[in-house]
């Protein structure tokens, strides 16, 4: 059942992610990225991570993509000149280096190194208490300090964004 859904979703992820870098128009790239986010949410559901799937849709597909589209429309890119290539070999070298990276990552995965001690949250146990409840239980006990530091990070981001985008303070 999982395999039945995995391969179509994986193909959609790969195609839409490739289209992000192939489209010339940034709006088309943004919409393609939106499709990638939604299909990744589908993969999270296949992995029994329902809460992560929900915040993937809400935070990424909702908040971040709206921010992207908003900026694209704010910038009025019609006036901007088309991307032209400064260095003719740039594309070839970029793809070459990225494929080398893929070879490295692939060889690590192929070697089958997956260390780590097994935790206590098996699929059945998480299903019994509920995915969101289990995450909340961990987040507000063991991970409370990182959680609070995150709030400081968000505050810094808010202040930074306002300072940067104001014309004069």
């Amino acid at each position: 059942m999982t395999a039945f859904f995995f391969f179509p979703i994986a193909i959609v992820v790969l195609i839409s992610a490739s289209l992000v870098i192939f489209f010339r128009n940034p709006v088309h790239s943004a919409l393609s990225l939106l499709l990638t986010f939604f299909s990744l949410a589908g993969l999270y559901i296949l992995l029994n991570a329902q809460f992560v799937a929900a915040i993937q849709v809400i935070v990424y597909a909702g908040a971040i993509m709206v921010l992207f589209l908003f900026v694209i429309m704010l910038l009025n890119l019609d006036k901007v000149k088309k991307e032209r290539e400064r260095h003719p070999l740039q594309k070839a070298f970029g793809i070459l280096i990225a494929s080398l990276l893929l070879v490295v990552l692939g060889s690590v995965i192929a070697s089958g190194i997956l260390y780590g001690t097994k935790g206590i949250y098996t699929v059945e146990k998480v299903a019994a208490i509920g995915n969101t409840k289990a995450i909340a239980g961990l987040l507000f006990t063991d991970w409370i300090l990182p959680f609070e530091i995150t709030s400081i990070l968000l505050l810094a981001a808010i202040v930074g964004a306002i300072v940067l985008s104001k014309k004069e303070l």
Binding site: L40, L47, K81, K118, A161
Partner: protein, 100 residues
């Protein structure tokens, strides 16, 4: 049942697509989108390994990664708007004043 290595391979390919985008494209907004792609690839492997190890720590880390991504996008897009305001371009080849 899909083996975890399939998810990891998908994550690696997705990350590579993001790297290609950052290296090849010159539009600052598209480079930002490719950084989001790379963050999503990492999130996917976090969740996959979290399931593989019967642990929820990976999913909690995904929440933190998303928070950092949101903060990064807010500040980064503010920088891009400022860049456009000052130089009328978002082509990163033309923004080379700090390049040696």
């Amino acid at each position: 049942m899909v083996p975890i290595s399939y998810y990891l391979i998908l994550s690696a390919v997705l990350f590579t697509i993001g790297v290609i985008g950052v290296l090849v494209r010159r539009n600052a907004i598209i480079i930002f989108m490719c950084i989001e792609l790379m963050l999503n690839a990492v999130n996917l492997s976090f969740v996959a390994i979290s399931k593989h190890l019967d642990s929820l720590d990976g999913q909690i880390f995904v929440i933190f990664v998303m928070t950092v991504a949101a903060a990064e996008v807010a500040v980064g897009l503010a920088i891009i708007i400022n860049l456009f305001r000052n130089k009328e371009t978002i082509n990163i080849d033309e923004v080379n004043i700090m390049k040696w």
